[in-house]
């Protein structure tokens, strides 16, 4: 019983807007603190890697960006499933909000991976299994965004994207595993010696900071995008109009 009341509360855009508003300052402060603190720690305080030199400091943004981009897709798929199964409008708004954030983080992961590869591997781009998988994830995000824009009808766009995102989420493990297998066939021997094993435990602590900071940043940005979408979609409701144009009566809290 209480699960269902919680669920209905969460499904109400108005309740979500007010609840997320209270959450925002904490998310913003904590994520910026962890991201900036972790970056300073990783840039200035940690010793250089004995094989990669200072270029390894890029992993403090590369690894969080790729991990969160992956998690963002799965979050989007869960939101899509909730929207399709329970017809929850809020889930569609969350799904729409995640796509540009996830695509940006995937782009960031690709770019930092390429820039890290130049001093480390001597080339900007390697068709390494992990980089290729991130590239495919980027394509999946672009496809979802393209499909969303193609529809004039918002509800149809949300439902079609939900189907596509779920199909993509079912495929992602297959794609990752296939690319892994494909890479094992063609693996050049020269780059095998660089792996995570060379990273010293003390170097992992700033990574934990930037990783959790990136997750919090994602949550923060997701809430901001969803809140803007709520205002846009609920523009005909009284509470949104009171919120934007000033309260004309006491009833709104």
């Amino acid at each position: 019983m209480s699960i269902w009341t919680t669920f209905h509360k969460w499904g109400s855009p108005r309740w979500f807007y007010q609840f997320s508003g209270r959450l925002l300052p904490y998310l913003a402060g904590l994520s910026l603190l962890l991201l900036i603190g972790g970056a300073v720690w990783g840039l200035a305080l940690v010793p250089a890697d004995y094989k990669q030199g200072n270029s390894f400091r890029i992993i403090y943004i590369h690894v969080p960006a790729s991990a969160v981009a992956m998690g963002a897709y799965m979050t989007m798929a869960i939101a899509g499933a909730i929207h399709l199964i329970w017809r929850m409008k809020l889930a569609a708004m969350v799904m729409k909000a995640i796509a540009p954030i996830g695509a940006s983080l995937t782009f960031l992961a690709l770019l930092t991976g390429a820039v890290w590869g130049k001093p480390t591997w001597g080339t900007w781009w390697v068709w390494d299994a992990r980089i290729t998988s991130v590239l495919i994830l980027f394509f999946l995000y672009l496809g979802v965004m393209a499909l969303h824009q193609a529809f004039d009808n918002r509800d149809a766009a949300a439902k079609a994207c939900a189907v596509l995102v779920i199909v993509g989420a079912v495929n992602i493990p297959i794609i990752y595993w296939s690319v892994e297998w494909w890479y094992s066939l063609h693996q050049p021997a020269s780059i095998r010696f660089i792996g995570e094993s060379t990273i010293h435990p003390s170097m992992l602590r700033p990574l934990m900071a930037t990783l959790s900071g990136m997750y919090l940043f994602f949550a923060w940005a997701m809430l901001l995008f969803t809140r803007a979408e709520i205002l846009d979609r609920e523009r005909n409701t009284r509470w949104v109009q009171d919120l934007v144009c000033g309260v004309q009566e006491q009833g709104v809290k």
């Binding site: 079609a160 794609i175 297998w181």
Partner: protein, 228 residues
């Protein structure tokens, strides 16, 4: 009654789609012409040396066959959507699931199967060694069935949109990647006289997964496209 009804429904949809395609002709011949033309572009683009072409042939043949199948997918539901047959399909009390499977199999019979039958000819043009021909045909026949099912999801999602073609390729191409990897790898392994049955077995697994899961997504997508 129910099982006989479903199988006769599948046969009826198959027969209708195939006879409609036979009357028009372009539906099954256009992907083949595309396949031939694009394969002929590669020697012009990378040079006529037989050794180099032979080395690239498995990849080229698979990528071009994949694109041909992709371009053909746009039409799986297009005609039925335009003349409102699709709406009738959704409104009728007949189950949608078997009809969708029948339509996708019809699409494969009209695009994937002819592509795989024609592929040895293009293999010869691209100097693919004889040892690779069997694997090429088998992997294309099996792999294009998976491509048809994935492509039908995209076609069902975009059938209500006016400019579906390019959008369809954007949303579907990333999902084709596992099929491409195992398909071209089977041909390459056969050319190098290695074992290629494992790759074909993987394509078989993909086919069974697609057969079981893709129609669910296709049915959902069709309802969305027709309802909007």
């Amino acid at each position: 009654m129910a099982s006989a009804g479903v199988s006769s429904l599948v046969v009826a949809v198959l027969r209708r789609d195939l006879s409609a395609a036979a009357r028009r002709g372009s539906e099954w011949s256009n992907p083949l012409v595309f396949f031939i033309m694009v394969c002929a572009l590669f020697p012009l683009g990378i040079g006529p040396q037989p050794e180099r072409l032979a080395e690239l042939a498995p990849g080229i043949l698979w990528v071009v066959a994949l694109l041909a199948s992709l371009l053909a997918s746009d039409s799986v539901f297009r005609g039925d959507y335009d003349d409102a047959t699709l709406e009738q399909m959704l409104l009728s009390h007949q189950p949608l699931y078997p009809q969708v499977i029948a339509k996708t199999i019809a699409h494969w019979l009209l695009s994937g199967l002819p592509l795989s039958l024609l592929s040895p000819l293009l293999g010869v043009l691209l100097h693919l060694p004889m040892a690779g021909m069997g694997a090429l045909m088998a992997s294309l026949a099996l792999g294009s069935a998976v491509l048809s099912f994935i492509g039908a999801i995209g076609a069902a999602l975009t059938v209500g949109l006016r400019k579906g073609g390019l959008l369809l390729s954007l949303i579907i191409l990333p999902l084709y990647i596992p099929v491409l990897i195992f398909g071209s790898s089977a041909v390459k392994a056969a050319v190098e006289a290695g074992p290629y049955l494992p790759q074909l077995a993987m394509l078989g697994v993909f086919f069974l997964l697609a057969l079981a899961l893709a129609p669910l997504a296709i049915c959902g997508a069709l309802r969305i496209s027709v309802d909007q």
